[in-house]
Amino acid sequence: EAGVTQSPTHLIKTRGQQATLRCSPISGHTSVYWYQQALGLGLQFLLWYDEGEERNRGNFPPRFSGRQFPNYSSELNVNALELEDSALYLCASSLEAGLETQYFGPGTRLLVL
């Protein structure tokens, strides 16, 4: 069974541009979570989607947004990129909302120049 997949693996952008990151959850999982992991730091919660709805949001500005599609895949959009947005962006999925065990993808490494 395939795990959580993310694309692209690496992304290079310049300040002010927009980035779109994609995530496909484990088959049968309906909840998708996004995290930011800056170099040497822990995981900071960004967004949680379940059944197409945003369920919770971390302490990030509105230029971080996303959506979940009917097939439960998800997109994370980051507008007006800043240098400090450079990080590993991790997507995780869980079987359903309220089940806390999350399984992670390999991440997308975003570099903002």
Binding site: Y33, L41, L43, Q44, G58, L90, A92, E100, P106, G107
Partner: protein
Amino acid sequence: GESVGLHLPTLSVQEGDNSIINCAYSNSASDYFIWYKQESGKGPQFIIDIRSNMDKRQGQRVTVLLNKTVKHLSLQIAATQPGDSAVYFCAESPAYSTLTFGKGTMLLVSP
């Protein structure tokens, strides 16, 4: 304990030793606790979890201990192997909520 900034606490052990990684959590309402292992360049990998109605849970070569009185969680790895070298994160969650992660501990295993 947990680190601040770029400096992760590091635990260095010899192959075959037992390792104990500690984690202090802050939310007394947390009901669920989980340990992840993250190797360089990879996403976190689930190791073991425990609910607040338990104080110990065992897996294959790993044991998680939960002390709710002092809000402390530990991960014990038996017969540590070089392949166990990674950063280990604990995370906590109240019921039906999102996970809050600690900053991680680096485990280095020498052959």
